[in-house]
Symmetry: D2
Subunit: 416 residues, 4 copies
């Protein structure tokens, strides 16, 4: 009986306050309708950067806000292209805005961290697409063009490139937003400047006006700094890692017959056997958000399983294990010693559960996967790294890796 | 066995990123220790502005961050006073920083909204004081001076005025922070400017250098705009109101013998009879945060009680009832008609549960309660509103009130 | 022979960096051409806020930059109106952008301060119009619509209101820009927010969407703070006053037969007798800028006339006379005494030349001259001050005045 | 008689508004006194970035403001070091603040561009030192420590490093300030973050806490972007080049007996023969500022010398010659052809005067000249480029060069 309440007419907000981009306008009715749908409202309860707020307390912003921000940048980008003489129909505008609005709709609790944990072999893009199709049914096909663009099947390539490439509005928004909310100014990019340099070349491909070369290089370095200073910060990497281990442990314990307190829907997934997604899976997945995981971890602090309770206390009380970082993998003997100390300190024999090497790697600028093109004054496009003006791009084409070893804080004290 | 894990040595962060104030330094060990205590870590899970993020999606910031920010401003204020020749000892500095750090420690889930709902007749300041005393025991009396300052018992009055007055660092931080995270620039104040104008007059009272008069007036108008545009925005007022009604309803249903799903600790309070606070009350209260309420509301959407499920859906799916606002109380006949329509529309007879008048009032500048004083060049202090330079203060000494009527959205459609 | 160099093709910049608004685009060829004309380039050498940089060292920005900024805000405003369904032709867009671009083109050195000093009875709007007509000839009538709009003769009233009213893009830009460059954050307004609330009502009049009421009130208070804190700051008022006195004195000395060093064109005006403007007047006026006045004052520091040299030293060495400020006119006896002391101190008998009362007055919101209208949801327009939501507008409809007495600094020392 | 007016007591500003750093405090009397001295006030009339405002219209800020900003950063840096336990006496604080305040006092009109033009073989640092000594006499030796620090003779090396090294407060201020005023956000650095990472190691050398590595790399890339995007922008390089050529030409013409209009002091230098600096030289140099050059160029637009008038028109009317840029020197044949076209177009035979190659080169991070050191947790210092955390520093140790060819705009039109 109440299931349809959300379908009733709403107080249609036409303008949303965004501290990052200023006002966000919602120029089309269908965008409203998607925003108001419970699938999308759920994103209000999914953090954009997971447990990063343990390290950067301002980073409490949500996927919901990011999706709106990216939609706004898409609008700005399309307006800019129009001012440069590129024809874009209203239908295309709607499609592109809807596609980017929905691009994260398949994210589960804690986004990337728990991807595949609840529903094996389901990553968020697969789920996003599935949910887009469900919504498309509800909205009588109004999302078809958006889905086409999202999948890269639409003939004008730049729409898909604005949705998903090395310089898409998704990245522009999340870098800008994450830098804003974390307060890490090294990651600050000027999206207005970058977007104002966007263009479309003859073949319908997204390019950057040549004079924007430094804005793009600044974007690439800012992104690299954000990765190593924020997303791959050793404590961030650790927190994300713990989340995964906690869920793994919980599923393992449940499989061993232990009864773990949890909300109804989370419990469903802890007990669910590997299989392809059913309608019930989808329904229940859409009820889950960060809240369910936090709530469970709070009560699991008192679990009789030492490992589970230890990790949950670590996270909830922000009393995190120790980490050391290196540019090379750790010496197995060094790791072995940490395990031994852990066993001794806690009087346990599965200390290896508490000692782990975490690896993070980054390719700052990928010349293979949709390279960035500059549009020269003579109308020719050229790869960024081949421009005579580039200063750093040519240097950023190699992967960097870092190795993080984590072990209980207490044992390090016994050592030092 | 694991209860004391948090007491073990921590990864002592000395600098915390804050997008509002830049870096926050933690200059004293005892400040760390309090920050790392689970009582304080709990504030990470209590939003600074409750459900306001339903209206301002950026407003997901926490009491934890606010408390750190206020502590930082206290440090800055004391440094400024020292540069003006006011002697402040290190003990006083510690005391003042600890006091403001802990000033919100007694906040329960959703702060003000649910104050008194879980534990009747307990407001957050009473609880904060109680928890400060508990912490003081744990920290062997190191918080005594802080508590004295918090209570206004310390002989140098300006410390308490910096903690709690019309121009305290609490207000400076929350206005600045809430304006930052909501994106409502009308509430933006320049805390650096205001603090740089602070001074202490002969009797040890906090005053503002006369030339700072416009910064103060700007602060007062910014605050007024924040109240009417953000905190008392009709939808904000409504969301807060719904939260209260939901908890009231839940307690009522429980008292009628209904079994409502909820986490263990929330359940405890739903069943708790009125009485003075026991040790168990305090313990369990400290386990609660916003998360418990959201988790409960998510499951109560499916309650068999129409009122409870209706409200919870309203909040969780952000499908809020309609509101109209007025400078005068609503005509009882108008209200009566809304109730009638509600009964008709839903086929219920307790429609009056869904129609409410909410009142909000504000005194922009209170000349009675700790008025703001200016320090003139001749060394005399003078009330802000009596200064010959003031432009608006004298006009902001009267209360303004607004009345908000809420009723189900659906019935308004049947009308129009 | 070289006179026409500027008419040759230029390096057509399409984007100009503006720290205030981000990038400024120049979407039409004719806008370029006007910008590149020497009449307009001259504005690069006319400061936006005259000698205010003596008090606010950042305030070195120019009329040139302001004119570009205002043109940019006009573009943004028109785009916003279009998104709300108001039809605006490309010709109208060009006209409105040209009109605001040229609105200050008649400003002479030090803008308002020296208005009428060089050419009596010529204020800058009269000159602007005259120069617009001259340009219109050069540009073969392409500026006709702009001139019509500037004069308020175009039938769609909102264009003129965007150019010149209590809430025009001129004010929006200068408040924003002056606050930015002075660093006086109390004057900071969010132009994006204000513009996004603009609308046009049935009769073609500029209105503000009702929900923007606080943004408008914030604009009015910010403007008031800027006047009293910056433009009418007692030292700013003094500096502007000295400039006028210096030019007056120079003209007087020249009329008495003294030979004062000055550039050729400034000399022309010092010697020019009162009369209506000739073609030579116009030509020479267009050669003048702040530079000529500063250059002259630098050499006049060594004039044999005590008064002139004293004032020029005051300004050039920033060794300004003393000022006291009051809400009431000064007592004639008090003034008399200052004159007496001045005569004694310097051993002169025209000390009254160095003692002056300067008056400044402001009406924060003028309900007579183009009041601000709100557009209610029901489509009716209502005066801002009559809205039920307004908090301060109704209180800002009265004039405030301040009186500043200035006298030589040295004499105040002999007294105290 | 009036020469000492500036020595009389002044309206001692204790706080100066700075849009870049917020308020600047002046904590010591002697700092005031130096600021009020005409030597320092002269810097108000010397632009920080010369003719760059022809390209970036916001860049009208002055050396005066920069010197105050750098002084403020020095204060902040010393406070930070104190909070980290480094002892710094009040005398040292005064010395360091005075030294940075005066570091640019020897700049002549248009700073670097015209260095050595007026007084051969005198660069600004030599002149700054000479003027510091003169001031030191006037201030009875109060500047001795400052001069010692400026010259690097003080035993605690970090004071000099804060004044002049690859990471000094001079660079921090000018990068931040120039980015702010130009609006080129790629050059934006967060000085607060960088300063908070400063430290002093055992030997008294300036180092950066290891965790600040990305802030430093961000600073180095931002600086590199500022050079190529702003300072070495081809049009910036051209404008600066024209200024030099104009002065050279003027001196040449004067040496040939031509009478060029100019203010008295500029005329003096145009006529001055090469020789070591006399007292009169110094006196007259201190009367000169940007104003004198602009004023002269305005009148030289009408010079009978074609070359001089052409260049002055180019600058004053912002009708600049054409430029092309390359990573390699230009082919002599290509240059020859441009000269030929120029001769043909203008009907002159000294067309080579109007065709020039300008070279700019940059070493982003100089590992030889005062390399940047990181302070590791273990207390050891390590070169930035050798840190395992560095991402880009190791790649920025090579020089980059660009070649700019300029020739009259008109001839390029005859070609195309």
């Amino acid at each position: 009986m109440f299931a349809n309440i959300y379908l009733s007419m709403q107080n249609k907000l036409k303008i949303i306050n965004d501290p990052v981009h200023g006002f966000i306008r919602i120029p089309h009715e269908i965008l409203f309708d998607v925003i108001e749908h419970p699938y999308f409202q759920r994103l209000r309860r999914i953090g954009q950067t997971g447990l990063l707020n343990l390290i950067f307390p301002g980073a409490t912003h949500t996927r919901f806000h990011h999706a709106l921000g990216a939609m706004h940048l898409m609008f700005t980008a399309l307006e800019t292209l129009r001012q440069k003489g590129i024809k874009i129909t209203e239908e295309e505008e709607k499609g592109a805005m809807l596609a980017i609005l929905m691009h994260d709709i398949g994210h589960g609790p804690f986004s990337h961290a728990l991807e595949n944990m609840l529903m094996d072999d389901w990553h968020h893009e697969k789920l996003s697409l599935l949910l887009m199709h469900k919504l498309n049914e509800e909205f009588a096909g109004q999302l078809s063009l958006a889905i086409e663009m999202f999948q890269g099947k639409y003939h004008r390539k730049f729409f898909n490139q604005l949705i998903s490439s090395q310089l898409d509005v998704d990245r522009l928004d999340y870098l800008n937003r994450d830098s804003f909310f974390t307060g890490v100014s090294e990651g600050n990019i000027n999206t207005q400047r970058i977007i104002s340099m966007m263009n479309v070349c003859g073949e319908g491909e997204l390019v950057i006006d040549a004079k924007g070369v430094y804005s793009i290089e600044n974007f690439l370095t800012a992104r690299m700094f954000m990765y190593w200073q924020v997303y791959y910060h050793k404590t961030s990497a650790l927190a994300e890692f713990l989340l995964v281990k906690i869920l793994e442990r919980a599923k393992y314990l449940v499989s061993q017959g232990m009864d773990l307190p949890a909300g109804e829907n989370l419990k469903y997934f802890l007990h669910r056997a590997k299989s392809s997604a059913t309608d019930e899976d989808i329904y229940r997945f859409n009820q889950l958000d960060d809240n369910d995981i936090i709530h469970a971890m709070k009560s699991w602090q008192n679990s009789e399983d030492f490992i589970l309770s230890y990790w949950c206390q670590c996270v909830i009380q922000r009393n995190l294990p120790k980490t050391v970082i290196s540019t090379r993998p750790f010496d197995p003997e060094f790791v072995e010693e940490k395990i031994k100390k852990t066993n001794e300190f806690f009087g346990i024999d599965n200390g290896k559960e508490l000692v782990h090497e975490i690896k993070r790697k980054l390719l700052p600028y990928d010349t293979e996967k949709q390279p960035i093109y500059l549009l020269q004054k003579d109308g020719k496009k050229i790869r960024l790294e081949e421009s005579q003006d580039q200063l750093l791009s040519g240097l950023m084409v190699h992967k960097t890796a870092r190795y993080i070893l984590t072990f209980p804080r207490d044992i390090s004290q016994t050592i030092s």
